[in-house]
């Protein structure tokens, strides 16, 4: 009896404890599980006043913002209701430590999610900061399937800067042609390029000039500037207050300059890392990047101001993106009395390079990089013609995704799934003239990968070059999955392997997951290959990756846990069903 009574007390004690733990979880002291149920489907929307089929999540584009605290577990149960089209979603900037199979990169970490299927993504957001999610399958991201992930510090911890309000803005460019039409053109012989975007969206809203439509069509009501979908985004601010604006870009193509008329911005965060603060009038931002800036509503509060996005680095004639910086209590529809501020000169890369170089890790928050690397890989970025198709290549290899995801092929040792020979670690440094049109020598399609020694330190030099057009070199934002890298330096011209490394910033380099390579320039990165898995590294311009501008790194595959069967079902893993 005594024993039984003791036992009962213990049970009660345990029950009470678990209730308390539950309450603690509920109050946010402990890491929480945040569950989302998403339905992905095609719907008509008019983000820039022109009615078009877009992909929505629960009816929205941009999709719902995921808000969490550091170390929370995110569970997204995604139901694909696209009818005949598959889907996959990448959690951009989330390193997926321990869950490389949920990186959402079709062909690299998972098979696509079939129509009618509910796929469960589950991962930990282990660092505070501003991140993104978006489709990573074909060119599906451009159909509007994207959104934000905002990870706060745990309760009781604080940022090294102060602000009154936290606001989020995603920038995008917008095409009227469907992703299928764009892709069919890119794969056509002769090559048919879709051209510059029709409009720029600020948080999903833009304004296409309907009167610029000239060729007749059958559709009625297709372009309507009074559609509420395309009313400009309005950021309401209280005079005197300081705002943390999380600015991110998921453009298909465009490099952007973001500006708030008459207001300076202090850059404090980049890709989830604190930046040694610096002040800008306009923020240059490339597809895949996220920034936080602090803005004080300290101007004449009796009027509103323009928020603008402009295309830089390309001679686009796309109308600027316009939104309203709305001083409360002015009417939000009241247009500013001024003209929107002028855009920077599109082909002057100096201020862009200067801004790239200004981004350093914040004092007190520096992650020191290893002082030496174990391997240096140089990636020459070129345009090529292969079998009559226009392609992009890295060291003359134009990347093609296999149909058995690398992570599964590597883990299950399916050696036929991709070319087992690695692509080259460099190019003909001595003879290749990066200022001349590509001579297209030995350019091939390939799906070989770079195998990195686990825990080794790898340096990547992204070397830009001339395209196939004379006197032309473009800007490429490269994004690395599964890691942050240190940005050691930017330079102009051909990277000098003897002298340039001496100029590396090893003191306070920023860590990022996306970084631009400027025209005719180079960017040097360093990272630790410490995350077991297979990881894409690619130009974040949607069409450039589609056209081959990417590579895959694999490391520590033997340390990868059991793969969930939900990521399988394609290529060599179509597998025999056994009930």
């Amino acid at each position: 009896m005594v024993l039984l009574s003791e036992c009962r007390s213990r049970v009660i004690l345990l029950l009470s404890l678990s209730v308390i733990m539950g309450l603690l979880n509920g109050s946010g002291v402990e890491a929480r599980i945040r569950r989302y149920k998403w339905e992905v489907k095609y719907e008509y929307r008019s983000p820039d006043c022109l009615k078009k089929l877009v992909i929505t999540i629960n009816g929205q584009t941009p999709g719902p913002t995921i808000r969490a605290q550091q170390n929370d577990t995110i569970i997204v149960e995604l139901t694909n209701n696209l009818l005949t089209e598959n889907v996959a979603i990448h959690w951009h900037g989330i390193r997926q430590i321990g869950t490389p199979w949920f990186d959402g990169t079709e062909g690299v970490t998972q098979c696509p999610i079939l129509p009618g299927t509910t796929f469960k993504y589950q991962f930990v957001v282990d660092r505070p900061g501003t991140y993104l999610y978006h489709a990573h399958y074909g060119m599906q991201r451009e159909a509007g399937l994207y959104g934000s992930i905002i990870v706060a510090l745990p309760d009781g911890q604080s940022e090294p800067f102060t602000y009154d309000y936290d606001r989020n803005i995603i920038l995008n460019d917008w095409y009227h042609k469907s992703t299928y039409e764009q892709a069919a053109g890119l794969s056509a012989i002769p090559f048919q390029w879709v051209g510059e975007p029709q409009s720029l969206l600020i948080h999903g809203r833009g304004r296409f000039n309907c009167s610029s439509l000239t060729i007749p069509t059958l559709d009625t009501g297709v372009c309507n500037t009074t559609n509420p979908d395309c009313g400009p985004f309005r950021l309401i601010v209280v005079p005197g207050k300081t705002y943390r604006l999380r600015i991110s870009s998921l453009t298909a193509l465009s490099a952007l300059s973001f500006q708030i008329e008459g207001h300076n911005m202090t850059v404090v965060e980049a890709d989830g890392h604190y930046v040694e603060p610096f002040v800008v009038q306009n923020l240059f931002i490339y597809s895949g990047e996220t920034y936080s800036v602090l803005v004080k509503a300290d101007q004449d509060p009796t009027r509103n101001y323009w928020i603008t996005s402009n295309i830089v680095s390309r001679p686009a004639n796309t109308t600027p993106g316009l939104a309203i910086f709305n001083y409360y209590p002015n009417h939000p529809r009241r247009s500013p009395p001024t003209s929107p501020p002028a855009a920077p000169v599109w082909n002057n890369s100096r201020p862009r390079i200067a801004q790239s170089q200004a981004i350093k890790a914040r004092r007190g928050y520096i992650h020191p990089p290893p002082s030496l690397s174990d391997r240096v890989i140089v990636f020459l970025n070129t345009q090529n013609t292969i079998n009559g198709n226009v392609r992009w290549s890295v060291n003359n290899v134009s990347f093609t995704l296999p149909h058995t995801p690398y992570l599964i092929a590597l883990k299950e040792n399916l050696t036929h799934a991709f070319d087992q020979n690695p692509p080259p670690d460099g190019y003909d440094f001595v003879n290749y003239d990066i200022f001349k049109e590509q001579e297209n020598k030995n350019a091939t399609l390939g799906n070989g990968i770079y195998r990195l020694n686990f825990n080794s330190t790898v340096d990547i030099i992204l070397q830009n070059a001339n395209t196939m057009n004379k006197n032309n070199s473009e800007t490429h934002p490269w994004h690395l999955h599964g890691h942050d890298f240190w940005v050691l330096g930017y330079g102009e011209g051909k990277f000098d392997m003897f002298n340039d490394p001496r100029k590396y910033n090893l003191d306070n380099p920023i860590m990022k997951n996306t970084v631009p390579v400027h025209p005719y320039g180079w960017t040097a990165l360093r990272f630790k290959a410490d995350n077991p898995g297979a990881w894409a590294f690619h130009c974040h311009i949607e069409s450039h990756f589609y056209m081959g501008m990417g590579v895959v790194f694999a490391e520590g595959i033997e340390k990868v846990g059991n793969l969930p069967s939900s990521i399988m079902g394609c290529g060599e893993t179509q597998g025999h069903y056994r009930p």
Copy 2:
């Protein structure tokens, strides 16, 4: 030694025989294997002069014609290069005896074929005649993924009619909106119907009136009547010769009248069965039907004649389809000196019913139907509103495809894959007024199926009714997979279960796989449930099946052989890959 020598002679004899057999095979005396390698992808084409993304097979739409002889084995290795979209192809009219898993019906007999995958269809064409193939996934057929299968008699056998030349024409209607845009509208609340087709194609060519475009767009060169893609189809005929024209229809929506100006047509084949010949001036043809007609080039040979297709049964203002019946050696571009013949009055169903009733089995080629049936199922066809969506229903159940194909679910006993309760065998015969707008009582979505006793004889009464609009009833062509059925009769109004069966034609009913149900009418069918498998039976109007107008029959599942793993990989069969 003697024994050894004898043995050697026998080996030589056997070897010689097999060589001879091989030669015989090559000469077509024995059944052959016919192999096709198809690449399916999106390309720009202008079938009706308006440039649009279409799905091609090896660059063609309509796709390549499969030509074979009775009992040949067809192997199609289909590679899906659609980027993010799956595919499945149905072999329309081929019964798939012994290969129910290759019927190509997504959700019924197979999982969809993923991008990058090569899927091997393999089946026997066991009867001569005119058949079709087309996508059977979402509304993909409308994107241009279709073609003909023509099966000849074995060498030495002959048709019961004579002709000099054999020609093939597929009819279609054509929309400018993509299948995704159409489907998004059909699933939208409120319902957005795409409307009548923009043009009618005769063998993949039509002519849209570009000047009817009125709303401006950005696209340049989008509609061009000088594009060679949309030059009219020309059928060259030699004066005095007789042509067997194989006419088939794969319209998305339209019932058609097909006519050759000034020439009578003798109907001799329908859906692969010989017809007791009868003469028509215009052939009414419904989506999914195939006919052979004999036409003699016996008119004034100094001029050309119009070939036309016109929409009947709907008040469409679509321009007629036009092609040229080109008497050799007149110039093929020479237009006929006359106006195209007038279309039949769209809403007079009498001549259409009369033609349906005129189609009987040819004497000497009659397959007598069983005189009694084991089960009678009545299918009331109605329009409904379910959860705010406009749907079509059968006995108030609107069909939804499950994501685990029925054939696999049945064979592997996956009872959660679909509703195990069968849908009803009839409706409220006494009280339901087929001439009134649907009252929408008890309409539900459902994926239950009809299980038929193996080898039983089943009668199906397709009962048409009023739609949700006053005084409106439409024409629905119903297509049965895996079987031919006897067409026992057509009638007007509500089917009378006591008196109408007495009027059934049991003497010489035609066998078909597709049959129209006329407005406010009924059609009575009989078939033997003698083909082990799971088989769709549905309205062949693409949007109607998408909106729920279909059912599934299952029979003799225990006799179905081992399912190939290639059809699996979706829904509950996504299965764990084991290397």
